[in-house]
């Protein structure tokens, strides 16, 4: 958005402007060097530790073929868990966000306080207790178990961001729908949800990213190779002596794809979600 704004800036400012752009690019190069290095190493033909060239002159996808042959199952597990966490989190969070935004429930302030407190609870405390509980009910090493646990990051976040948007929906709009004979559920489904589309997409994207990036629950709530998200696959790589960094970095790149896609494709939804929440 600021790119278009820049076009209208006075020409005499532009020269100084490009100086700032140059400085900005230098900052970007310094801060994103690790990301560049990850991609560079992943494309090197030899994974051996000695002296990785600074540029990927001899392009090779050997690292990726090794990574895919060893990690494709884990990538699929991550994808299923992350998608499951998105569906589950939105199913739980959206009605709650609506209630907190539109109803005058005394319970609401207690609930919001509980969400804030929940952010202070260390993941290791949750993992500690869930391991014991999952062991009893047989949810260890299971996809549903990971979906439920990973939603601990997504649900509070989704409630907050969707609620922030839904408070901007005028109550009169919802009530007008209800006067026409729609019950709460119909008004919610046919009026509120379509209006909240961008907030829902934003919440879904971040919930996906949280679950995809989860490492702690993967580490503690799975013990076998049957259900192993790619984050844990990467960790088991670096837990041993590494003589093939190309494959490790290729796995790291594959595990970063959702973040990169989000940044490139979904930028406008992220912007839409945050601005619509802040505007009023």
């Amino acid at each position: 958005m600021s790119v278009t704004a820049d076009l209208s800036v006075h020409r005499r400012h532009t020269r100084r402007g490009w100086g700032s752009t140059a400085l900005g690019i230098v900052i970007l190069i310094v801060l994103l060097f690790p990301v560049y290095w990850m991609i560079n190493v992943s494309l090197q033909p030899s994974g051996s530790a000695v002296g990785t060239p600074w540029l990927p002159i001899h392009l090779s996808f050997r690292g990726y073929s090794t990574a895919l042959s060893q990690q494709s199952r884990n990538l699929a597990t991550s994808l299923v868990v992350a998608l499951g966490a998105v569906v589950f989190s939105l199913l739980i969070a959206t009605p709650a966000a609506y209630a907190l935004a539109q109803f005058k429930v005394r319970f609401a302030s207690v609930f919001l306080f509980a969400i804030l407190i929940s952010q202070m609870i260390p993941g290791i405390v949750i993992a500690n207790a869930l391991y014991a509980a999952y062991n009893d009910v047989g949810l260890l090493n299971s996809i549903p178990g990971l979906i439920l646990a990973d939603s601990t990051a997504g649900i509070p976040f989704a409630i907050l961001i969707i609620r922030a948007f839904m408070t901007s929906i005028p109550q009169s709009v919802v009530e007008a729908g209800r006067v026409d004979g729609a019950g709460h559920v119909r008004a919610f489904v046919s009026i509120v949800l379509p209006m909240s589309r961008n907030a829902l997409i934003t919440a879904a994207l971040f919930t996906f990213l949280f679950a995809w990036a989860d490492f702690l629950f993967a580490l503690t709530l799975t013990t076998t190779e049957n259900v192993r998200p790619v984050t844990l696959g990467l960790y088991t790589y670096i837990g041993t002596y590494i003589n093939d960094w190309s494959s490790v970095m290729a796995t790291a790149v594959l595990a970063s794809i959702p973040a990169i896609v989000l940044l490139v494709v979904a930028q406008k939804f992220v912007a839409a979600g945050t601005t619509s929440g802040a505007v009023k």
């Binding site: 600021s2 704004a5 820049d6 800036v9 532009t14 402007g17 700032s20 752009t21 900005g24 690019i25 900052i27 970007l28 994103l32 690790p34 990301v35 290095w37 990850m38 190493v41 530790a49 002296g51 990785t52 199913l91 739980i92 009605p95 709650a96 109803f103 429930v105 319970f107 609930f111 929940s118 952010q119 202070m120 609870i121 260390p122 993941g123 290791i124 405390v125 500690n128 207790a129 869930l130 391991y131 646990a149 601990t152 649900i155 004979g181 709460h184 119909r186 919610f188 490492f215 702690l216 990467l234 960790y235 837990g239 790291a252 970063s256 973040a259 990169i260 989000l262 930028q267 945050t274």
Partner: protein, 340 residues
């Protein structure tokens, strides 16, 4: 709550539970009959009660989830900390009560003081670095220049990629013999000694903090930049008319106006940093010789490496207590600042 009781009383006198009927009034034939079966209630009372129940139904799933996945773990950890867990506990189910034994063992352990100091250094160091660099970048990006928006969104990348990925990448960059950092330092003749960033007991914690700063910069930049955008432009114009220098504008306009956002960033920063686990496990696993062990990572090691879940729970509870203590101190200090 009173309305809820009046509803359940009348519902139990009726032939069928109607709880769901109130949520889907148009869904089934029992909805209108519900009104006929509620003669003892005046119409608006039953309406209000049903309204309340419908509203609570929207909150019910989330409430159940929050209780099960945040409330239960707190209670469970509290209880577990009084029990003796061993490797066989999860087969035999035997976890005898040992009172405060776990707390005593954890606190008197030689690792505890080290982990406590490391936790403080890690949290304070990470937040100071993230905040200063994030604020400097936020002020920089307030300038108008071409590609500003593109550059700013690309800077989000370190924040969006999984922490364990960052850990793996930095582990290779910081490698003692062939890491990019040591090769770079040798190339520009700073040092040819190849410091062991992750393998030396004196450097490991500093390296872990550096990497965590790198991860946290985008978050600080984004929130602080948003805060800066809220400051009205005419304040700066007025300051410029008064001949304020760049530093004076920052000191007397930007900083006071930004303070509320600053406190949000710092509190969230502390709460999130104090429980960081992925980064440390990925980079050093708490080592070498506990040089980068924090309370969170030590709690993990006790529970999931040594299978002493009782001690792990006790340490986890101590971590929650520290977090709460900080929040209370902060809230009180903040209230005092508002009062003055």
């Amino acid at each position: 709550m009173a309305e809820y009781h009046s509803l359940s009383d009348t519902a139990s006198s009726g032939p069928a539970p109607r709880g769901t009927g109130t949520v889907h009034p148009a869904a089934g034939p029992e909805a209108p009959s519900a009104d006929e079966n509620l003669p003892r209630l005046r119409p608006w009372e039953s309406h209000r009660a049903r309204e309340r129940l419908a509203q609570l139904m929207f909150l019910l799933p989330a409430t159940v989830y929050m209780v099960a996945f945040f409330g239960y773990p707190i209670v469970k950890n509290f209880v577990m900390a009084f029990q003796k867990y061993t490797t066989s506990t999860f087969y035999t189910g035997e976890a005898p009560w040992i009172g405060l034994g776990n707390y005593r063992a954890v606190v008197t352990s030689s690792v505890f003081s080290k982990a406590l100091v490391n936790t403080v250094l890690f949290t304070v160091g990470s937040i100071a670095g993230q905040f200063v660099i994030g604020l400097a970048l936020a002020v920089f990006f307030r300038r108008r220049f071409p590609l500003n928006g593109v550059l700013r969104s690309l800077l989000l990348l370190p924040w969006l990629i999984p922490l364990i990925v960052s850990g793996a990448v930095w582990r290779w960059i910081l490698d003692k013999d062939n890491g990019a950092l040591n090769r770079f330092l040798a190339a520009i003749h700073v040092t040819t000694e190849h410091p062991g960033w992750l393998t030396s007991t004196s450097l490991a914690l500093i390296s872990v903090i550096m990497v965590n700063i790198w991860i946290g910069i985008p978050f600080n930049l984004t929130i602080l930049y948003g805060g800066l955008q809220e400051i009205p432009e005419d304040l700066y114009e007025a300051a410029a008319l008064d001949g304020a220098s760049g530093w004076q504008r920052f000191r007397y306009v930007t900083w006071p106006m930004l303070r509320p956002v600053v406190s949000v960033v710092l509190v969230l920063g502390v709460v999130y940093t104090i429980k960081v686990l992925d980064v440390i496990l990925g980079l050093t696993n708490g080592g070498p010789a506990n040089a980068s062990q924090t309370i969170a990572t030590q709690s993990y090691h006790l529970s999931f490496v040594q299978f002493d879940f009782g001690q792990g729970a006790a340490l986890g509870n101590i971590l929650i207590a520290i977090s709460l203590l900080f929040a209370v101190i902060y809230l009180r200090a903040n209230r005092r600042a508002v009062d003055e």
